[in-house]
């Protein structure tokens, strides 16, 4: 049912409708809760047997979120660098704004983007609504402030002599910038991981501008929302497990990287 997503995404408030779309009767819910362990068992089965529907959803999640982080990172790095290294009027205000932007709810980003991209919106001609590209844009907006704020914190902590040393040894400013980035790689990796962590599990924006279309824009969080509303918990749990495992893997990687960076005997 490839158009299923479209049927329950209305023009104004998809999430609410989504939860009402296939109401779960109370008796059903109780019996489902009884079989929660059964659902978990089924979930593991789905995961490890490589259930194609499940893995398509996981693939979409990764494709979208990785693209979002990769596209947002260069501009965010430059912003973070400017905030940390260049004195300009309004710098403190800009830092405050980025820190505030950290807590913008995903649904607000989704709603705003939805209005911009919808057929009657100012960017409607781009025909981006309910595409992966729209999800990527939403997630870029969501992870940008994290990348800037954490990147800024990491760069602010670097030694000013690093920049000067690079310059005095003959590096061009651009090359010196790259050297600073390289020296700050652990902190900046942490920023990337945090940014990715924020958007991989984000449901509000993806749901609104992606539309939760099967095999196209249905990612892990929107699928969980849908499966749960339908009462089919096994898929939901399986996907939740994937998110958990992912988070574990990311943090293990990060702490091992940072562990290496810390060795100063």
């Amino acid at each position: 049912m490839p158009t299923e997503g479209l049927t329950w995404v209305p023009s104004s408030w998809p999430v609410i409708i989504c939860l009402h779309q296939s109401p779960v009767k109370l008796e059903e819910l109780e019996s489902d809760v009884d079989t929660l362990s059964e659902a978990s068992r089924q979930a593991l089965y789905l995961l490890f047997t490589g259930d194609p529907a499940l893995w398509t959803i996981i693939g979409i999640s990764f494709a979208v979120s990785l693209r979002a982080v990769i596209f947002a990172a260069p501009a965010a790095l430059v912003c973070a660098f400017l905030l940390a290294y260049i004195q300009f009027p309004g710098r403190r205000l800009a830092i405050t704004l980025f820190n505030t932007a950290l807590s913008i709810p995903a649904v607000v980003v989704g709603l705003t983007l939805y209005m911009l991209l919808s057929r009657v919106g100012p960017l409607g001609d781009l025909k981006l609504l309910f595409t992966q590209d729209a999800m990527v844009i939403g997630q870029m907006i969501l992870c940008f402030p994290i990348l800037v704020a954490m990147g800024h914190a990491a760069l602010q902590a670097t030694d000013r002599r690093l920049w000067e040393t690079a310059l005095t040894l003959g590096a061009t400013p651009i090359r010196a910038f790259l050297t600073v980035i390289h020296e700050t790689r652990f902190g900046l990796t942490a920023a990337l991981v945090a940014g990715f962590g924020r958007i991989i599990a984000e449901v509000g924006s993806s749901m609104m501008v992606g539309g939760n279309i099967l095999n196209h824009t249905r990612n892990i969080p929107t699928a969980i929302a849908l499966e749960t509303s339908r009462g089919s918990f096994a898929q939901g749990i399986a996907l939740g497990l994937v998110l958990l495992l992912l988070s574990l893997a990311l943090n293990l990687t990060l702490s091992s990287i940072q562990g290496k960076g810390e060795v100063i005997p």
Binding site: D159, R161, L162, E164, T165, A166, L167, T168, L169, G170, A171, T172, R175, T179, E183, G261, V263, I264, P265
Partner: protein, 244 residues
């Protein structure tokens, strides 16, 4: 050949620098010739670091004029980039990149686009000349303060800049390292590099100092080599360029 007949590589005119309403350097003029070894002294806070940073193009002054390539220039972007390309500033506490000693020293050579083999060779020679070979593959975090200073000095020296600006280069060193450090500085001078080194300790017996600048309350007193008190460490003018 006396140093008076050598054309200055760079002349600085009317340099002034202030922070807020505090004047730190006032109307300083100075010319720099290849092979000069200038000792810059002054109290803590006299402005030694400030002057060296301005000369290296890292810190723009309030006002200064520069004369190089036979013409006068304001201290603008172009002049700053000229200074950055032709001078090397060594911090009072040097910064070493998070990498091996070899990679640290290679940094500047790589920026000059030298080929790999050439870089390796030059670094080997430089480390041999300074008795630091044993550190080549050591990570910069695993060096003592004195070793860090010597590595940073080699990293700057290997670029043979026109002007070397050393900010208290031997301050963290013990006697043997200090001797090696000072001899490296003499070596730089003999290579025809103009060296300015700051210190609040005027006792640098082994250094072949040709000029002594003293900063006091923003102004500068200059003693040329001839006027310097007899000092066994100072070479006579005739010996200034031993064949390399």
């Amino acid at each position: 050949m006396t140093e008076m007949t050598l054309d200055p590589w760079l002349t600085l005119w009317k340099l002034s620098f202030s922070r807020g309403d505090r004047i730190i350097l006032r109307d300083i003029s100075l010319s720099i010739r290849p092979g000069d070894l200038t000792l810059l002294t002054g109290h803590n806070g006299a402005g030694k670091t400030t002057l060296l940073r301005i000369l290296s193009g890292l810190l723009p002054p309030d006002y200064a004029e520069l004369e190089y390539h036979g013409s006068k220039h304001p201290y603008d972007r172009q002049s700053r980039s000229f200074l950055r390309r032709n001078t090397c500033y060594l911090h009072q506490q040097p910064y070493l990149f998070d990498a091996t000693v070899f990679d640290n020293i290679a940094y500047g050579l790589r920026r000059r686009g030298l080929c790999k083999q050439d870089i390796t060779e030059r670094i080997k020679t430089a480390l041999q000349a300074t008795d630091l070979e044993y550190l080549a593959q050591r990570h910069s975090h695993q060096l003592s303060g004195g070793e860090q200073q010597r590595v940073a000095m080699v990293r700057a020296w290997i670029l043979s800049p026109q002007l070397m600006l050393l900010d208290e280069p031997v301050a963290n060193m013990d006697k043997p390292s200090r001797r090696k450090g000072l001899s490296l500085i003499n070596h730089m001078r003999r290579d025809g590099i103009a060296v300015i080194l700051s210190s609040h300790d005027p006792q640098h017996g082994e250094l072949e100092i040709t000029r002594h600048l003293h900063l006091y309350q923003g102004s500068m007193a200059i003693k040329e080599q001839q006027e310097l008190a007899p000092n066994p460490g100072i070479v006579t003018v005739n010996h200034r360029f031993p064949s390399p």
